[in-house]
Amino acid sequence: MEKALWYLLTATRGGANRARIIDALTERPQNANELADELDVGYKTIRHHMEQLEEHDIVESGEESYAKLYFLTDRFDKYRETFEDITEQMDT
C-alpha cells in the first residue's frame, strides 16, 4: 500500500488529481459526478482515477450502480501518514 501510494500519486500523469480526490473523500464520501464538479475534472477522467484507486485498495465503492459513492478504505486510513508525507509540499 505504501509503495502503491508513492507510485500512484507522484510518478503518474494523473498523480496530483488522484491526491486531490483522496483529499476530497477525506471530507466525505462522494460519487464520481460530485468529485468531477468539485475538482473541475472531466467525469470520464474521474472514473478512470477511481478505477486505479480501487484497484490499489485505496477507495471502495457502494453497491448501487447509479451515482455510487466512493469511500476511503480502512486500509488506506492506516497509511494516512504516508499520504500526508507525500502531499506535504503540495499546494492544494
Partner: protein, 98 residues
C-alpha cells in the same frame, strides 16, 4: 551491408526511445514540482540520463562521427541494449501515462 543495417536499426530504436522519454520527463518534472519528493526526483534523473544517451547516439549517427566502434559484434550488443531500453521505457510509459 549487414553492419550498416545493425547501426541503422539501433538508431531507429534510439529515436523511438527519445520520443517515448520526452512525455515521461515532462510528467515527472511536473510532478516533481508538485510533490518535490525523492522518488520522482530519481525518476527525472533516470529519464534525463537515458534521454541524453539516446539523443547523443542519434546526433553522432547523423554527424557521422563514430561513437561506437565499427565492429559488428559491438554494434550487435548496442542494438540489443537499445532493444532492452525500448521495452523498459515502453512498460514505464504504459504505467505512467494511463
Amino acid at each position: 551491408m549487414a553492419m550498416g543495417t545493425l547501426i541503422t536499426a539501433a538508431v531507429v530504436l534510439a529515436g523511438l526511445n527519445t520520443l517515448l522519454l520526452l512525455p515521461l520527463v515532462g510528467v515527472w518534472i511536473r510532478n516533481y514540482n508538485t510533490f518535490g519528493t525523492g522518488l520522482v526526483g530519481g525518476l527525472v534523473l533516470f529519464a534525463v540520463a537515458m534521454l541524453a544517451e539516446n539523443a547523443m547516439a542519434i546526433y553522432f549517427f547523423f554527424s557521422m562521427a563514430s561513437f561506437y566502434s565499427g565492429d559488428p559484434g559491438v554494434q550487435k550488443v548496442v542494438l540489443i541494449l537499445r532493444g532492452l531500453q525500448f521495452v523498459a521505457i515502453a512498460a514505464l510509459s504504459y504505467t505512467t501515462l494511463r
